[in-house]
Amino acid sequence: MASPGKSAAVKAPEPPAELVREPLVLNNRSLGWITNAIAGVCEKPMPIWWWPAFIVSVGGMLTMFSLIAYLVSTGVGVWGLNHPAAWAWDITNFVFWIGIGHAGTLISAVLFLLRQKWRTSVNRAAEAMTIFAVACAGIFPVFHTGRVWFALLPGYLFPAPNANAIWPQFRSPLLWDVFAVSTYGTVSLLFWYVGLIPDLATLRDRSKGLLRKFFYGLFSLGWTGSNRHWSNYEKAYLLLAGLSTPLVLSVHSIVSFDFAVSVVPGWHTTIFPPYFVAGAIFSGFGMVLTLLIPLRSLFKLEDVITLRHVELMCKVLLATGSIVGYAYGMEFFIAWYGGSPYELYAFKNRAFGPYWWSYWAMISCNVISPHFFWFKKLRTSVVFVWIVSIFVNIGMWFERFVIIVTSLHRDYLPSSWGYFTPSWVDVMTFVGSFGLFMTLFLLFIRFLPVIAISEVKGVTPQADPHHPLGGAKGHH
């Protein structure tokens, strides 16, 4: 070694050129640049497009709340569902939204455990998306009970003593779902908040206005960046990631039990838990791309959310989309191989029955569209990726519609056959849930750092005390 002394001992051998990874933050940006670029987004006034977007979203949200008031005051009959399809858009929307949340947890927890450092640029927004999606998801099963105070308060959903002295029925997967989804919402919120604390402290230290100073100060809890704190903090973060990983897998497994534990042909299959989890991650990454591709260019964050990030997420879409496609094929195979005429009929009816259009919409969006991502050229074309991500969202909504409605609308006896059509209230409540989701997301952009500032700093070479950019001496 040419360089003598202590610094030579800490010098790692240089990797060969082809093994050097692309930097996670482009253009060698400094730590101060990262703070300014990310904190700047929520400190400066919002760009002009934000206001029309916000007004439209709030309009959607208010539409949804008014229609919920209409539903509660009138009855669930304002929706189009009725015997035999007593679950329709409500549960479709529930599974759709809860599935979207799963990508956020996958990015924040699973990729953290797998030491995928690229997650740091996208995890904050993805976790926010998770929490907002869970909020949207919760609305549908709660309000499909109609007069919710009878469902919630006397303890049919949550255990609480009631006039009849009856407790909830814990053998039902629907009750497992109550615990799974509420735990998922709570733990996601805690995990998100823990990640936010150091960044809120950054905002506190930069803010000028009294209100901002007060609220960022309040929620950052007096964080100083002390290493004795970081030590406990990092352990807590690791543990929360370790807890969220089995949690996210269990949530969609339990959602799938809502169907799989029943004896309805088309639902009663063992493939459901892994198939639902893969579909959830697929749909969630679709939504992450739908949100982040405009975000990175509108706020000039391309150096932090790089093309490589987009490309990696496309690869996740390709992988999970292939699993979903495989599951569709395997369902059909087992329907034939299993020898149950009812099961086989349910599947034939899906593809060629009165709801054939929804089945083929699902197949073309979910099975065909991810396979464009075998090609690097397409993975790195942000406009193309964004369009495909929309198709993924649409396809995954149709998947849930196909599973729920086509399995229900023709019961065992032709006397119990029917055709579900949504009412205008169904449609506008679902559209309105996007209003709620976007309102929350736009407020998140307005007030909180959209990228985890301290985590992104931590994966730059400047953060490494043994790297020349981190100030290590003895490197040429």
Binding site: G32, T35, F170, R206, N227, E234, A463
Partner: protein, 181 residues
């Protein structure tokens, strides 16, 4: 430097790079200080060893939370569906850990997460809204791109002049004095 009423809190040293503070932390550890800390905008890999910290005990809080959650879940379901109001559904057993598992599993995770969060807050003594460090304007950069070491006056090895010399000469840092109210 400060009025007579003000009690000294300690000395604050400012560094510009991760490597500088890493080296300075090792020097402070080797000098035998105990009431001192490193302040960085992000966790620096290996800093716990450089400071000589023990492993974080947060995991114990997680374990206690998880244990409570699982036990509560199982007991609650047994009490509700078998003991207090036996409810026969589809001829299934009144209680078995199998059907009670999903809910108990979720409660394990829920209370583990709360245990982790509040355990971390407890160990870090957060929230703590008053801190003499916040009175220093330079310290605001500790959540941006600067690195600080604070050696507190309560440290048995602390001596204002000797410690100042140690920080400026041995650690090559710009040093200021902090006071408490």
């Amino acid at each position: 430097m400060s009025s007579n009423r003000s009690k000294p809190h300690g000395l604050l040293a400012e560094f510009h790079t991760a490597a500088d503070i890493f080296e300075a932390a090792m020097r402070c550890r080797d000098a035998g200080f105990t009431q001192w800390d490193v302040y960085t905008p992000f966790p620096i890999h290996g800093m716990d060893e450089a400071m000589g910290l023990r492993k974080s005990p947060v995991g114990w809080f997680t374990f206690c939370g998880g244990f409570t959650g699982f036990f509560t879940g199982m007991t609650m379901i047994w009490y509700m569906n078998k003991f207090d109001y036996p409810l026969v559904v589809g001829g299934k057993p009144l209680f078995t850990p199998l059907y009670a598992f999903p809910v108990s599993y979720e409660m394990t995770i829920l209370l583990s997460a709360f245990g982790t969060l509040f355990g971390m807050f407890f160990l870090n003594q957060l929230p703590k809204f008053y801190n003499p460090l916040f009175k220093n304007e330079r310290f605001k950069k500790s959540t941006d791109d600067r690195f600080f070491i604070c050696i507190e006056a309560t440290d048995p090895k602390f001596g204002t002049d000797a410690t100042r010399t140690f920080l400026t000469e041995k650690c090559h840092a710009a040093v200021v004095e902090l006071v408490e109210d």
